[in-house]
């Protein structure tokens, strides 16, 4: 769990460095080796690590548009994920998806750039497991800003009435881009939403990875045993802007400082030291994580870019004949127009 968390944190630090390359001095979102938006999850690691420790490759995870920490905890291929973020041909999606749209079917991981829209597919994965009599479960991750979305609420209901093996994990970092939680939700504790669907609702405070682990163990165990869904809200914190380049002018300084004051990784490190681990042991784990991340990033940067023509592939698995759209210009003059 600790290794997943430090890997995710260091991975995002390295991505941040790479992302900013070429975008200075004036920030230009489309410049540099990593183009497009980049949403980092520094401060969210406890949620992903604590939950995914209980998952197998055959279990499904759907992540939101801030997916890296979840992907790492779920065991997504780090090199190919990195290549995807750099827009390379050997990336998970051949450069078509990018950082918000990572798909690794080997470990049943998917994500979406649209708020809360990973919830219904997670319900579907749970439905498939039930119909096939498998003990696989599905976990949908979302932010607390997403709990007002119809797709989330409808998914809770469907999972509840069908008693499906789904766990909804709300990562509560207090901010939906510029909107503080108290202005987007009538309740402070989002897990209360579960009550309306007669489903267990659990909240874990203080970025506490161990407590997340315990709560997730119970929720996933319940799902796997055929006892239906759980809504688990986990307090995390946001260490940076919503996306890279977000000036966060809407956010009070005290709030930023408070977020940096409660680091889930430091909290878990303290717990581990209290349990008898030495600093050297922890440093060894950090070192291993850094090596793995650096290796993935170096590998990804060496990968080739896709050929432009590859853009036309993969619209369909089974392309219909005549699907091509680049026919030559039609010369009406030659056929005489309307004469």
């Amino acid at each position: 769990m600790f290794e997943d968390m430090v890997t995710a944190r260091y991975y995002e630090e390295r991505l941040q460095e790479e992302y900013l390359e070429g975008k200075q001095p004036a920030f230009d979102i489309s410049a540099g080796p990593i183009p497009g938006e980049l949403h980092l999850a520094a401060g969210h690691e406890a949620a992903a690590a604590g939950v995914c420790r209980h998952l197998r490759d055959s279990d499904t995870v759907t992540a939101p548009h801030r997916p890296h920490h979840v992907a790492i905890a779920k065991g997504v291929d780090l090199k190919r994920m990195t290549a995807e973020i750099f827009g390379r041909r050997t990336g998970l999606s051949g450069g078509k998806g990018g950082h918000m749209h990572l798909f690794d079917p080997d470990v049943n991981f998917a994500c979406s750039g649209i708020i809360a829209q990973g919830c219904p597919p997670a319900v579907g994965a749970g439905l498939a497991a039930t119909k096939r009599n498998e003990d696989a479960v599905a976990v949908a991750f979302l932010g607390e800003g997403a709990i007002s979305q119809g797709a989330f609420l409808e998914s809770l209901n469907l999972a509840a009435v069908q008693k499906l093996p789904v766990v909804f994990v709300v990562e509560d970092n207090d901010w939906a881009i510029s909107m503080p939680k108290e202005r987007v939700s009538g309740v402070d504790d989002g897990s209360q939403r579960a009550g309306g669907f007669d489903m267990p609702g659990v909240r874990v405070d203080y970025d506490d990875a161990t407590a997340v682990y315990d709560a997730a163990k119970e929720a996933i165990g319940r799902a796997r045993a055929g006892n239906g869904p759980t809504l688990l809200e986990v307090q995390v914190h946001r260490r940076m802007g919503h996306f890279m380049g977000d000036p966060e002018s809407y956010r009070p300084d005290e709030d930023k400082e408070a977020a940096h004051g409660r680091d889930s990784i430091e909290r878990l490190a303290a717990d581990l030291r209290a349990a008898g681990l030495e600093d050297d042991d922890l440093e060894e784990i950090r070192e291993r994580a850094r090596d793995r991340v650096d290796e993935a990033i170096e590998w990804a940067k060496d990968q080739p870019e896709p050929d432009p023509e590859e853009a036309h592939e993969d619209v369909f698995v089974n392309p219909p004949s005549g699907a091509t759209t680049d026919e030559p210009a039609h010369e009406l003059a030659e056929t005489g127009g309307d004469d």
């Binding site: 004036a26 920030f27 230009d28 979102i29 489309s30 183009p35 497009g36 938006e37 995807e84 827009g87 390379r88 041909r89 990336g91 999606s93 450069g95 078509k96 998806g97 990018g98 918000m100 749209h101 979406s112 750039g113 649209i114 708020i115 809360a116 829209q117 800003g145 997403a146 007002s148 979305q149 119809g150 797709a151 939906a176 881009i177 510029s178 909107m179 202005r183 987007v184 939700s185 380049g245 002018s249 809407y250 870019e305 896709p306 050929d307 432009p308 023509e309 853009a311 036309h312 619209v315 699907a323 759209t325 680049d326 210009a329 039609h330 010369e331 009406l332 003059a333 127009g337 309307d338």
Partner: protein
């Protein structure tokens, strides 16, 4: 023409976002019933600067941040509009329409018709459109054709600051639902540099540009290029480049898709005989097909050659070489113009 004279008379240049905001602020001062509602529009000022500075003047009651719940707040705008208010609701990215399309196309767009004209929905739905910044398939679409295809909404696509202001005044004053689609790359946002074109002189005073009046952005006698949004600027660049080779292209900026100014297109094609339609939306079943169909229906005798330049029918890819491949560039437009000339 009057518009050009008026533009030439002022020296003050604005970005497209400043021009939009100026029109909104003016209409809000004039009419207490106008308010703006959306995600990150108040304290943030709009992710694409669509509401920058409005909170300071109008406060949270009239520049309203809302939870991430497009069905609820866009539907609420419909309801408030039916009660006679004039809401502006922002859908942050046009790509997100899928989470709330019922409120847009079954409620906002159809209630006037279904009520036999007894109910009106005087609201504006604003949405950012467009790619060219490698944000992949869920954040880069233009979807002009989708909105224009469904009856009941007027669809506006400005390409310059001057047009953005005049069209916004008209949109807010219009008694029908208007979808106002602004291209991110034209707004003049700090982190997404705009080409030179969209920043234009903008008069201080309010002025309304009527819907259904396409604008001839460049006059020419050899080929008619019809386009909108970002691609007005790419078409102009292509036309300037071809002028060195003695090809004189006329560039028509549609400015609104509903209503569509067929007359201006037909008049131009009657002169040039050659038509190129350029769109950042998907190629099939969309704007390019519609324009060509109208010219074929009403001006076939004038038409000697035609070509369309659009996104082939693929979702927008992330990696730069592939995005460049599918989004029409200046060179693609040049090639098409040469092709209809040959």
């Amino acid at each position: 023409m009057a518009q050009k004279e008026r533009q030439q008379a002022v020296e003050r240049e604005l970005t497209m976002s400043r021009a939009m905001v100026e029109a909104i602020a003016h209409e809000m001062r004039e009419n207490d019933e106008v308010f703006y509602m959306g995600e990150d529009v108040a304290d943030y000022g709009g992710i694409f600067d669509s509401t920058e500075g409005l909170l300071d003047e109008f406060g949270h009651d009239r520049i309203m941040d809302v939870p991430i719940s497009e069905t609820a707040y866009i539907g609420a705008a419909v309801g408030a509009a039916q009660r006679g208010m004039r809401p502006i609701a922002e859908l942050m990215f046009a790509d997100f329409f899928g989470v709330c399309m019922d409120q847009i196309y079954n409620q906002m767009a159809k209630n006037t018709y279904m009520s036999g004209g007894n109910v009106s929905v005087p609201m504006v739905l604003t949405a950012a459109v467009g790619g060219t910044y490698n944000d992949a398939a869920q954040h880069s679409q233009t979807l002009y054709g989708t909105f224009a295809h469904l009856p009941g909404m007027k669809v506006v696509v400005p390409s310059t600051a001057y047009d953005a202001k005049g069209l916004m005044h008209n949109a807010i004053r219009d008694d029908d639902p208007v979808v106002y689609m602004f291209h991110k790359r034209l707004m003049g946002i700090g982190w997404m540099p705009a080409p030179d074109g969209p920043k234009t002189p903008v008069p201080d005073e309010p002025y309304a540009i009527p819907f259904g009046s396409a604008d001839v952005k460049r006059e020419g006698s050899d080929v008619t290029v019809v386009t909108l949004g970002l691609h007005v600027h790419r078409a102009l660049e292509a036309a300037e480049s071809l002028a060195d080779d003695g090809i004189d292209a006329e560039v028509i900026d549609l400015r609104t898709l509903v209503p569509l100014d067929t007359e201006t297109i037909l008049e131009s094609v009657a002169e040039t005989g050659r038509l190129v339609v350029v769109d950042e939306d998907y190629r099939s079943h969309g704007v390019t097909g519609e324009i060509i169909a109208r010219v074929a229906e009403e001006g076939l005798a004038d038409l000697e050659a035609v070509e369309r330049v659009a996104v082939p029918d693929v979702p927008l890819p992330y990696a730069r070489p592939m995005e460049d491949e599918v989004i029409p560039g200046t060179e693609d437009i040049e090639t098409a113009i040469r092709s209809v000339r040959s």
